[in-house]
Amino acid sequence: MSTTTAPAGDGTAPGYTVRRTLPLRVEAVRQFRRRRTLIAFGILLVLPWVLVGAFKIGGDPGPDGVPSLVDVATASALNFALFALFVSTGFLLVVAVSLFCGDTVASEAGWSSLRYLLAAPVPRARLLRQKLIVSLSYAVVAVVSLPLMSLVAGVVGFGWGDVELPTGGTVPVGTALGRMAIIVGYSLVAQLVVAALAFLLSVTTDSPLGAVGGAVGLVIVSNILDAVTALGSWRDFLPTHWMYSWMDALQPQIQWTGMAKGAAISTSYAAVLFALAFRRFRNRDITS
């Protein structure tokens, strides 16, 4: 056994700097090799191919009077990507985002590894920040990977071409790619409230399933309330009310109002929920 090394001038162990604790790369690696991560990405990357297969077997969807994205899903790769996004926005993406943001702290608590990280020591706010950045990044990659893979699958299945709008009319590829970026960007902002909710639950409970399930459950409750039209304009303030507002970018002229409202609601809820998460974690006794 070697002899003791002299402590650094400030009384910390040699080489210890708060700014270097829990680097993002380390946290990313810690999370990436989990089966949960791989399965989530697997589903998101396979789903477009399953959908392509479904359309190939079932044939082209016929219009049924009410314009919808499914009518034009097979018109081009971009159309198909939009359709894939449409069918996953309400639940699949919510689950994916909840998974990455809800599991991140709760699972560490469940494995008891959280206390060793905190005693390393990684300051609590820093641990939360690094974990938040990494889990949000995974969530972003998840949300972006679905339309990207859908584009690839769509090119294989239906070819590359202009976007056909469900209301009639087409958008040229160049414009459509820009619109697609807006749509994906808005979807990310709209999911921010889900991420924040899951994250707050994640620092509150030691059970990853509770955090993920709780976030998904509250989204479902919000959707149910949103279906109660008697609530009138109160529904505007439900966190999920504007989740589909990205479809406003599919009109001949983009309608920004809905997306502006949705972004305002989502970021507002998210700011408060994230703040609550940080405060809660800062003052909490870690007993896991």
Partner: protein, 824 residues
């Protein structure tokens, strides 16, 4: 009662001066509350008075008619301007109650009345004739001039504006022409020339050769007729209508009669500021009627503003709020401030669908001046050779363009949504002429024109329409309005298509359709065929000056995130624990003073614990289950906040994440690893998470202690309890911390490993570091530790060198049982 009593008690205690000041403040507050109550109630209240006003009219001024009127007065206002609101054809004064109340709340004295022949007024319908209805309204102005609440411009001359829809709008125009006392008018969806509106002719040849708009004319006249054939119409008017409707051809007398009831006949006399509001879904009085009024009044030198909104006689979005707002702005400017009013030209456009309400979003585009229907023309060449089209016998089945009520689909059509899948043109009855696909979007504002050549026998009524053709070939009417034209066979005619505001998207074509039939018009019953060809390009007017302001977003869109950010900052700023005290370096590895922690359920886990550990010691922390050992160790790691007291490691106070914890290696309450990673990766990533350099880790020494062999590269989830235990101790020893804390380190180890561990710990301390071992295995402590602290019930019950605690000749076990027996 209790509140009152408290108030009295306080009142008695307060000094006299203070009392009266407080009372005055309370009165002021009450006054403020009352004022606030009124304004919160929605402007001043409105009082209504029903009146029966007798007027005398007729060509010889000998007919007495009693008009049923209502006066709406804002309560508690000084003298103000008056407004007269006329109702639409077939209705009465009750139709404009909503508008009247809104204007009265805005401070206008509003007079509504049922025109002669309608509602409870007596008399017969004379179609806004100068001899009848105009004389009536002039006497209503006389009546208004006598009202005390109405502001006068001169003796018998009230400050008055007139507004109304359709029939009520036309009377505003007519009265303004005949009575100079009218100060401003805002006619809505009304006519310029009734003859032209009912016998339109898009070739410009006039109503004498026009095509009879039979469906609308029928509705218009039967609306006033009621149950009998002529109802309350003047008999002469009724005869005129029945003659025209029977033949489907205008007579010169009919044209003359309708002209007399039209602002067109007195256009040179209307010299007041005018706001013309016309509907884009109006096949009865299309936009060109407002255009004709605008041109005439502008010629007289009066200022004219034009608004095209989404509604109209066909239906569609009434935009009540917006139109009311525009009217109010206009009258406020003209009747109150005497200044100019807003923009010269306003067009509302369907901008898209609001995905949350599924309603069409209507945007407002405005330009400073109204440019007319033929501004900024572009020409687009038309493809299409001569086409032969047929008129079916009996004129049926007929094409469908506009129908009353169909206008509701207009907004959707503007967005390119096919309107309900109605059949539009019958096969063989329509010729089509297309432009090339547009290279960029085209916003048509005005009336496009095209010159056509028609061959056939006699006068041929044709119906020209403009379609929007998508690249897929799907064609939808740009507006569901047809322009009827009567062309003599073998000649050419310039056809002015219906005026509209419509956006053609990039890649779309414009299509001129010329049909032989239209359900809304009288067409010949004789079967015939005609050949039609376009002999000119399509001329398309545009108004680039029209700038659209996007639909405004509510204030909370910006306010809410800002408020949320502030709230978040408050949440983070409050409830922050005080930072650690002064850092004082010290060589004492661990000093605990007065440490106390009670859990939320009230259980006092650690009570006033003080202890001190010196360098080189191996301290045994002893105690039965629940003695507070683990809670103490968790507080030592900064995981649990103590209620009081403090822990200092090397002189520095322990707080969550305190940097000095980097000199502490810990293994408390079992291992904590990521189960999906191998043992080696776990150690590697843990060390990288500390952020310290790799060469400080002394990984090899730690791995030797773990003694896992090849299992090191297997996922931790496959490990046995003992393997995890050893890996966790190895993790605690990474970086060879100056203070090593191990909680039950020998759990799950086999005897040789226990022995090995014991030696490791002794050696570790011998190198000048400090080890704390918590255990309930007394023999182990006895063999390993130099010192011991015995805890029971959260308190320290004994401390000192092991040899002292044991005393001479006793086993630790006996000593321990004796101590905790005393302590508990």
């Amino acid at each position: 009662m209790r509140v009152g009593g408290a108030l009295r008690a306080r009142w008695g205690r307060t000094g006299r001066a203070a009392r009266w000041t407080a009372a005055g403040a309370a009165v002021a507050l009450l006054g403020g509350g009352a004022a606030w109550g009124v304004s919160a109630d929605g402007a001043p209240r409105v009082r209504t008075v029903d009146e029966r006003i007798t007027v005398v009219d007729g060509p010889k001024d000998d007919q007495r008619v009693t008009l049923d009127a209502t006066l709406y007065r804002p309560v508690g206002r000084a003298k103000g301007p008056a407004l007269m609101l006329g109702h639409g054809f077939g209705g009465d004064k009750r139709d404009v109650t909503g508008d009247a109340r809104a204007f009265a709340r805005a401070g206008y004295t509003v007079l509504t009345w049922s025109a002669r022949g309608f509602g409870h007024s007596t008399g017969e319908i004379a179609l806004n004739s100068p001899d009848y209805e105009v004389k009536d309204t002039r006497q209503l102005i006389d009546w208004l001039a006598k009202r005390p609440e109405v502001l006068l411009d001169g003796p018998g001359d009230p400050r008055v504006g007139m507004a109304g829809e359709s029939y009520g709008g036309a009377i505003a125009l007519m009265t303004a022409a005949y009575d100079r006392r009218v100060d401003a008018i805002a006619p809505q969806i009304t006519w310029n020339d009734l003859a032209d509106a009912l016998f339109p002719n898009a070739s410009g040849a006039g109503p004498g050769k026009g095509v009879f708009k039979k469906l609308w004319a029928g509705l218009f006249f039967t609306d006033g007729a009621g149950s009998s054939a002529c109802g309350r119409f003047l008999p002469s008017l009724c005869d005129m209508y029945q003659e025209v409707a029977r033949t489907g051809r205008p007579t010169p007398e009919a044209v003359a009669t309708l002209r007399r009831s039209s602002p067109a006949s007195v256009a040179d006399r209307i010299k007041v500021p005018t706001l013309l509001v016309q509907g884009q879904s109006d096949s009865l009085f299309p936009l060109d009627q407002a255009d004709a009024n605008a041109r005439a009044i502008t010629r007289n030198g009066a200022p004219v503003s034009v608004v095209w909104f989404q509604g109209g006689h066909d239906g569609g979005d009434n935009e009540t709020t917006r139109v009311r707002g525009l009217l109010r702005g206009f009258f406020d400017a003209r009747l109150r401030h005497g200044g100019p009013s807003g923009d010269g030209f306003t067009v509302t456009r369907a901008g898209g669908l609001d995905s949350s309400t599924q309603k069409v979003v209507v945007e407002e585009a405005a330009a400073r001046v109204y440019p007319g229907l033929g501004a900024d023309r572009r020409t687009l060449p038309l493809n299409g050779h001569e086409q032969t089209i047929f008129n079916p016998a009996g004129g049926s089945p007929a094409s469908i363009s506009a129908l009353p009520g169909l206008g509701a689909l207009g907004g959707l059509a503007d967005l390119g949504v096919p309107g309900g899948g109605l059949p539009v043109d019958m096969p063989g009855q329509a010729a089509r002429f297309d432009t090339a696909p547009l290279e960029r979007p085209l916003r048509l504002t005005g009336a496009p024109t095209v010159r056509i050549h028609v061959s056939g026998k006699g006068d041929v009524p044709l119906f020209a329409k403009l379609y929007d053709v998508a690249p897929t070939g799907q064609a939808v009417p740009a507006r569901r309005i047809a322009a009827p034209v009567r062309v003599t066979g073998g000649t050419e005619a310039t056809v002015t298509l219906p005026a509209m505001d419509y956006r053609f998207d990039r890649g779309h074509r414009l299509r001129v359709v010329v049909a032989t039939t239209d359900m809304g018009f009288a067409t010949p019953a004789e079967p015939a065929s005609y050949a039609v060809r376009a002999v000119s390009p399509l001329t398309v007017p545009t108004v680039p000056a029209l700038a659209t302001e996007p639909a405004p977003v509510p204030g909370w869109v910006w306010g809410l995130p800002v408020a949320a950010a502030v709230l978040a900052a408050v949440i983070l700023a409050r409830g922050r624990r005080r930072p650690a005290g002064r850092p004082a370096l010290s060589d004492v590895p661990l000093e605990i003073t007065g440490l106390t922690k009670a859990y939320r359920n009230g259980h006092l886990a650690v009570a006033d614990l003080s202890l001190r550990v010196e360098k080189g010691q191996v301290l045994g922390l002893l105690g039965p289950n629940g003695a507070g050992k683990t809670t103490t160790l968790r507080m030592l790691m900064g995981l649990i906040h103590p209620d009081s007291g403090e822990i200092r490691i090397f002189g520095q106070r322990v707080t969550p994440g305190a940097p000095v914890l980097s000199r502490l290696g810990s293994f408390v309450e079992g291992p904590g690893f990521l189960p999906h990673l191998s043992g080696r990766d776990n150690l590697d990533l843990y060390w990288r998470a500390t952020g310290r350099p790799a060469d400080e880790a002394h990984l090899d020494e730690a791995l030797k202690i773990a003694d896992l062999g090849t299992a090191l590269d297997r996922a931790v989830r496959t490990y046995s309890q003992g393997m995890r235990q050893r890996l966790a101790i190895a993790q605690a020893m990474l970086g060879l911390p100056d203070l090593l804390v191990l909680d039950e380190p020998t759990n799950g180890l086999d005897p040789p490993q226990i022995r090995e561990m014991r030696e490791v710990l002794v050696r570790y301390a011998a190198a000048g570091r400090t080890v704390i071992v918590s255990s309930h295995l007394l023999a182990e402590v006895e063999q390993t530790c130099t010192h011991a602290v015995v805890m029971a019930g959260g308190r320290r019950v004994a401390a000192g060198p092991v040899s002292e605690i044991v005393g001479s000749g006793r086993r630790l076990e006996d000593a321990f049982l004796e101590i905790i027996g005393e302590g508990s």
